[in-house]
């Protein structure tokens, strides 16, 4: 109970910090912090969507970056056509159009690859989801028109208009940040509801003991597939944001190491908590930033740290904090 209150308090504090710090920093002229925090929020959305699979359903999908890439190209390609001409059907700066494209492409890709991957278990599942994301990687590399290896720059951010009036001018960095922030809250809320729903309980039960779920008359396959599609769509959404954030899309976003980083964020933050991925992404982005300023060999200490958390801090950072807290409170 105490650890739960501590947990809620900590989460509220973190959310508040994320809301205030970038603006305070900008006020003092350090505008790049807004940039770092925007990236952090977008990655949190992607990591949270993966945690629905990894933490709730126990499905170690190793290809989640593919959806970020697909979502990003759903912005990059229409913007490219709008700027340079070529395909009038896809072309457009319209953000709603980008979202529609991203959601439908990601849902379709998740449905097809999930239907196949979810027939496998364990290491096979990890490998096959990774293989599918590599397919997307090589597909994007082969698209010469869209820059191949080098990717595409996105000249203008998506335009969110209603009745020809721009309702959200996301070229304005702080508006864009607030949009990402609100979307993160929304995603966390949706994931929390789903986790505690009838549906979420099936996923949870099947993670613990699939044999028994089947022996009680439920085939987890359809539920897992639905979760797989949902997680893919949310990650696609983060891809739309990422393309807008970076003014750039490239196959590099889909590299398997990116999928691995998302997993690390979840494990780093702690798999038992809704806010684990957010905490993990925060630490990940900040560590990356500070370590890379300190030494160009930052990957080494970074890797060691991750290893340490995985080996010794079961339950990730949330686990470490709540455990210590409990230790302090109980005589």
């Amino acid at each position: 109970m105490r650890s739960q209150i501590f947990h809620k308090f900590g989460a509220a504090l973190l959310l508040l910090t994320l809301l205030i710090v970038p603006f305070v920093m900008s006020y003092f002229g350090k505008t790049f912090w807004l940039d770092i925090f925007t990236r952090l929020i977008i990655l949190s959305i992607a990591a949270s969507s993966l945690s629905l699979l990894l933490s709730v359903a126990g499905l170690a999908s190793f290809g989640h970056a593919a959806y970020i890439g697909l979502g990003a190209y759903a912005v990059g390609i229409p913007v490219y056509f709008e700027t340079y001409g070529g395909n009038d059907f896809l072309a457009g700066y319209n953000g709603w159009w980008h979202l529609l494209l991203a959601v439908s492409v990601c849902a379709l890709f998740a449905l097809v690859t999930g239907a196949i991957s979810l027939r496998t278990r364990g290491v096979h599942f990890i490998m096959i989801t990774m293989a599918f994301s590599q397919m997307i990687f090589y597909l994007l590399v082969s698209l010469e028109e869209f820059g191949g290896d080098d990717g595409l720059s996105v000249d203008l951010r998506s335009e969110f208009a209603l009745l020809d009036t721009v309702v959200l001018d996301i070229e304005e960095p702080w508006i864009f940040y607030l949009l990402c922030y609100v979307l993160l809250l929304l995603v966390l809320f949706v994931i929390s509801r789903i986790t505690h729903s009838h549906f979420g309980r099936v996923l949870n039960a099947a993670r613990q003991n699939e044999q028994r779920v089947r022996a009680l008359g439920v085939n987890p396959y359809g539920y897992r597939l639905f979760a797989f599609v949902l997680a893919g769509v949310i990650a696609g959404l983060s891809g739309v944001l990422y393309a807008n954030y970076a003014y750039f899309v490239s196959p590099g976003m889909v590299e398997w190491t990116r999928s691995g980083e998302l997993m690390f964020m979840i494990i780093l933050g702690g798999v038992t908590s809704l806010f684990g991925p957010l905490i993990g992404a925060t630490c990940f982005v900040l560590l990356e930033y500070f370590l890379s300023r300190w030494t160009i060999f930052w990957h080494l200490p970074f890797g060691l740290l991750l290893l340490g958390v995985v080996l010794f801090g079961r339950g990730g950072i949330v686990g470490l904090l709540t455990r210590r807290r409990r230790g302090e409170l109980e005589p």
Binding site: S197, H198, G200, V202, A205, V213, R214, A215, N219
Partner: protein
């Protein structure tokens, strides 16, 4: 009337014939005990009826309908449920949640994404009734993993009952229970049999003779006797085969 029937059911594991052309019939509303020494193939037989293992040959009929090709969940929804010899629980769930999920599994699909399932009064009430029946009410908020071995056996049965089976297959339900728990379970199973046909695999002979209407004996995968309990228990081959193996 025969509710569940097998015709020449056969299963091999490499050279081992774990189920050797077994033809067995469960009568509506009766307790059918299946006994046999360790490694006789009792669990393997149940696993084929439940659909976890596919037989190499033979047929399974539920209410005269061939279910040999049905998947495991489909069979449960058709009214055929099993329990496990080694308790198969959801260890992170509370005791109540274990049963509430089992009730949920019976009551239609779970594509419901918004309402909080933990506070679903209907699921919880049904689950609480079942826990009461198995004498686990006081433990309902504990994690399943924290239960004693005997309590886990009770929970195992509560979960199976939650599916409201027409035929319930119990794989050594009493194993590891105290004598008091065993007594209560014998009483409970006795009451159940008016609605539920039971296949009881059990080494506890007192329980078997207290409950069984019919009795089958499995040795090396093959049935050596099957019929009314009173007759089979006096069968000389049964006495020698069964007692010789030291069970």
């Amino acid at each position: 009337m025969s509710v569940l029937q097998t015709n020449n059911l056969t299963k091999r594991f490499g050279g081992v014939v774990a189920t050797d052309a077994v033809s067995l019939s469960l009568e509506q509303g009766k307790v059918h005990a299946l006994i046999g020494p360790n490694g006789a193939g009792k669990t393997t037989f149940i696993a084929q009826l439940a659909g976890q293992l596919m037989p190499d040959a033979g047929q399974i009929l539920l209410n005269a309908k061939d279910i040999t090709k049905l998947s495991e969940p489909e069979r449960v929804r058709a009214g055929l449920t099993r329990t496990f010899q080694i308790s198969s629980l959801f260890s992170d769930f509370s005791v109540l949640e274990n049963v509430a999920f089992s009730v949920q599994a019976r009551t239609g699909h779970s594509y419901r994404f918004w309402s909080k399932v933990a506070s679903n009064a209907r699921l919880n009430a049904t689950a609480a009734d079942l826990l009461e029946l198995l004498g686990l009410s006081e433990k309902s908020q504990e994690k399943a993993a924290a239960l004693s071995h005997g309590e886990q056996r009770q929970l195992e049965i509560a979960m199976a009952l939650a599916t409201e089976p027409k035929v319930l297959m119990l794989d050594e339900p009493m194993a590891g229970m105290g004598s008091e728990e065993t007594q209560r379970l014998i009483e409970l199973l006795g009451k159940l049999k008016s609605e539920t046909t039971l296949l009881l695999v059990e080494h506890d002979m007192d329980a078997v003779f207290a409950l069984a209407d019919d009795l089958s004996v499995l040795v090396n995968g093959a049935l050596i006797a099957s019929g009314p309990a009173a007759e089979v228990r006096t069968h000389p081959e049964v006495i020698s085969a069964y007692l010789d193996s030291g069970t």
